[in-house]
Symmetry: C2
């Protein structure tokens, strides 16, 4: 039987405010067994870019990454946010190691070709090195992954953190029984974000089609759930979408294949 | 017999300009066997701080690190400079891993108490985890170390890169036969920086005293050589001060105990 591992992705807002970050790190430190944390940092990137006089251009909630913006996200995701999480976890007895996809070549990507939108230095993942990650994890190291990849030609690339999470979870599924948890500001996928009782506890492929068709699921939630199904197809055992204060629990929206 | 390892420290100027960085990475990639790179990044930190409206205050060439400046050096050293080196080395077939002292708890420090100068979030190293570093290195990983440490209480600390280099070299000397090379813009320690033929090929404790007394060695060179002797005392086999385009060679100034 494979050993269990918990792969948790947290959005920018949670890791960028001291109180919610401290809370998250306490909860993450308390999770037993093998674990990995993937983080965002978009709000800080936007703020730092603004202070540097660099305009943040977003399309459908995603960042267009020109050369100057790439420098900002490299600083903010790979430096500021990542290293503060690492130091915070070390203080809690977790042997954290901050990684971008370039570190140990764990996530290789290619620059997305310009189409209707030229995304600039944005990477689509080609491969994740599950063997290298597993080796580190089995040494007792807890990877903390920033949403950056590299192309193997010396270029860093900005990559959606949800994608990093699903690619990492899939790559680990060869060696581990993986639970992938996406956490964000809501208790899960909601029929009505303003109504806490409207949580959808379970989504499978059939119900997803319907929820898309009737518009219940839209916008930034679509790539999140697409990533969840991609992860299940890739060998991940379970995907959960939940609130940051429930990363240990069985609440939230569970996404399963059938 | 212990296996040989080369620990190289390069200053900010070398890693912050594309041409000299590419040249350095080519040369570093060509070094055979185990190796570690420690880098600075002060000029970029000063430039980014300026763009963010944060004043850089230096005393004796060292940075006073208030809370805002700590964010800048975390971004620049841990993110921008470190990750570009890592990506550049991966492109050259080197399995680089960027580390701050917080990552895997490799360098623990304490905040320097305020004395004549309040340095702010500046760390003096308490311990380096040679066992953890050796384990990573023996896996074929090449650590790329940013000049940041942590205090184990969740705080990152700005730490002189020369000190990081000597502490790392000492910590590795239990498992490796260590050559520590400091490279900078001159061919070595010079009697007269404007005269390329005035290189001092060898310094020992006796000649160092004399060179200090007659003012040949002064300013920023003093902590560099103090660190070199500390490294030799701590078990390092050889310390070399040389130019970045001679990191493989036997030129430069060799510093030995006796």
């Amino acid at each position: 039987m494979k050993k269990k591992i918990t792969v948790i992705k947290v959005g920018g807002k949670i890791v960028e405010e001291k109180e919610s970050l401290d809370n998250l790190l306490d909860r993450f430190a308390a999770i037993e067994g093998y674990k990995v944390l993937i983080h965002g940092g978009g709000r800080s990137a936007t703020r730092i870019a603004e202070s540097l006089g660099i305009e943040s251009r977003m399309v459908g909630g995603r960042r267009i990454t020109d050369a100057e913006t790439l420098k900002v996200v490299t600083m903010v995701y790979g430096g500021l946010v990542n290293k503060n999480i690492v130091a915070g976890l070390q203080a809690r007895g977790v042997n954290a190691l901050g990684l971008t996809g370039a570190d140990c070549n764990v996530l290789r990507a290619h620059k997305r070709p310009a189409g209707e939108v030229d995304w600039g230095f944005v990477g689509d993942v080609d491969s994740a090195d599950g063997a290298m990650l597993s080796k580190l994890i089995e040494e007792g190291i807890v990877p903390i992954m920033a949403p950056l990849t590299h192309d193997g030609k010396g270029n860093l690339l900005n990559t959606n953190a949800d994608t990093i999470a699903s690619e990492t979870a899939k790559a680990l599924s060869g060696n581990f029984d993986v639970t992938l948890t996406y956490c964000f500001e809501h208790p899960g996928v909601m029929r009505n974000p303003d109504d806490a009782t409207s949580l959808i506890p379970l989504i499978n492929r059939e119900s997803y089609k319907q929820l898309l068709a009737d518009g219940t699921i839209s916008g930034g939630m679509i790539p999140k759930i697409d990533n969840a199904f991609a992860a299940l197809e890739g060998g991940v055992s379970k995907v959960i979408i939940t609130k940051a204060d429930a990363i240990e629990g069985a609440s939230g929206t569970h996404i399963i294949e059938g």
